[in-house]
Amino acid sequence: MGVDEQFYREYILDHYKNPRNFGHIEHPTYTHEEDNPLCGDVVGIDLLVKDGVVDDIKFHGRGCAISQASASLLTERIKGMSLDEARTIGKEDVLSELGIDISPARIKCALLSLKVLKAGAWGLGEWPGEEEE
């Protein structure tokens, strides 16, 4: 198996080609979309919250395999979580779930979906500077 297969692991390619929870929620509790103008990646997330629990989550977007697979993985992780628990997810969690060595140039791709959640869907308003690193 070559280096590229290791980087673009099977499950990342799988999430890219067959994204989970892809689409829109008709009456979401929260909805937010952001793009990364530097590479043209777009991710939008709809959340349906019931009794403090993420009852449903859907994302839409386009872009590189890293940004889209990362969004797909994030939705799988969050679905069914309490909102409080979901709020504690940080960039380290997202990166370790991807399980690959992300170069500095690609880190924004990997974290775009988390940014959408933090900056928009959870109403945090401000992105807490993860992209600086």
Binding site: Y8, G40, D41, G63, I66
Partner: protein, 411 residues
């Protein structure tokens, strides 16, 4: 003075040229020369020589090493004058690069000459450095911007350009060659038409000077800006050329040491051209390096360089076209410089770059500082391979193999 390596004097052969560039010992297939080029030993030695033997500031001291430094620094100005066929070294302004040159014109010429309601014409092919300064100027002055569109081949719609010229623009600005998709614009004709319409004309030569060269008098424009680091020189040294009477009438861009004649409490008189526009300590080593780069390019011959790049470009376009699902942007090879911008179906340019990087191929992915053009082409980004004097067919073969591997992974 550093000398050419013997290989450079033989008939043009990229395999030989390549040996003058230490970078290639890394084994990287470097396909990002439109971004920044590699540097030959001739340039590196010229800079080392400055640091080791006559490191001192220029224009200021009466001791010997400073005189040598000044001589070499001013030697670059003369080399540039010759390279672009300017009338006088007074018209050759050292800048940090194309961006600074364009900003200098936008501030010093623009704020004095552009008024509310004036028209500035630019094109959709422009690099951000030839867009944003004009947007800022337009916002400050109330001038308006009009963009010349491209056709499906990525070539300017000249009939639209001529229609805009009928509105008597105050300033027309465009790139000699598009950095993003390689289009060679009919610059001489465009300048001619714009001058007839009464416009002041700036040509962005960031890609033109390194790959085609320029004769500013033949081109007929008013300002021409370019960067040293895209033409085998170091970063931090570039040139703005301007017609003397325009430069004379302009106020300084930056103020400080070296750009003055006399400073009194009551006020200051400025230095004559070109120093009026060179405030503060300049990038002396880099300017000397740029002079060496020009010598090196002249040694190779600009015609040889253009011909070699055409050959490589044609080879790359054919090889990439043979892969399924590859779409190349931009004009046919006859009207294209050494730039091949493309997309591969089903693979985002960033994923492609990451994979080919693991094959030792340096390929640019992104918007290439030309977001309006990307929007016009309806793509988020492209992959871009760009070539120069040292690019060989083996680099292209390695790219094509790497792209095929990416297709296999993403299949």
């Amino acid at each position: 003075m550093a000398t050419f390596t013997s290989t450079s004097r033989q008939p043009f052969n990229a395999e030989h040229v390549r040996k003058d560039f230490p970078f290639f010992e890394t084994g990287v297939a470097y396909l990002d020369s439109a971004n920044t080029s590699q540097r030959p030993r001739h340039v590196l030695y010229a800079m080392d020589e400055y640091f080791e033997q006559f490191n001192s500031n220029v224009h200021r001291a009466a001791y010997h090493v400073s005189e040598v430094a000044t001589e070499r620094y001013e030697g670059t100005r003369e080399a540039v004058r010759r390279f672009i066929n300017a009338h006088s070294t007074k018209e050759v302004i050292n800048t940090r690069g194309t961006t600074e040159g364009i900003n200098l014109v936008a501030y010093s010429w623009g704020q004095k000459n552009i008024k509310a309601g004036d028209l500035i014409v630019l094109t959709i092919l422009e690099h951000h450095s030839n867009i944003v300064p004009w947007q800022i100027l337009a916002a400050k002055t109330g001038a308006r911007l009009e963009w010349v569109d491209v056709d499906e081949k990525g070539e300017l719609r000249l009939e639209q350009y001529h229609a805009l010229l009928e509105q008597k623009p105050k300033l027309v600005t465009f790139s000699q060659i598009s950095n993003a998709i390689g289009t060679i614009n009919p610059a001489k004709q465009m300048v001619h038409d714009a001058k007839r319409a009464g416009a002041t004309v700036l040509v962005d030569g960031a890609q033109g000077a390194p790959h085609q060269g320029v004769d500013v008098r033949d081109l007929g424009c008013d300002f021409y800006a370019f960067s040293g680091h895209k033409m085998l020189g170091p970063t931090g040294a570039g040139i703005l050329w301007g017609k003397r009477e325009l430069l004379e009438a302009m106020d300084p861009f930056m103020a400080g040491g070296d750009m003055i004649k006399a400073v009194r409490q009551e006020g200051t008189t400025y230095a004559d051209l070109p120093l009026k526009f060179e405030a503060g300590t300049q990038a002396v080593a880099e300017v000397i390096g740029l002079g060496a780069a020009i010598e090196y390019l002249e040694g190779l011959g600009m015609e040889n360089i253009t011909r070699h790049e055409r050959e490589i470009t044609e080879y790359a376009m054919e090889a990439l076209s043979e892969l399924p699902g590859v779409r190349i942007f931009g004009p046919p090879v006859e009207r294209r410089a050494g730039v091949v911008s493309f997309e591969v179906e089903g693979i985002h340019p960033h994923d492609l770059s990451t994979i080919v990087d693991r094959h030792g191929v340096a390929l640019r992915a992104g918007h290439h500082c030309a977001m309006p053009l990307m929007i016009r082409l309806d793509v988020p980004a492209t992959s871009r391979a760009s070539f120069y004097v040292y690019t060989i067919k083996d680099d292209i073969d390695r790219l094509v193999e790497a792209v095929a591997d990416a297709q296999r992974i993403f299949a």
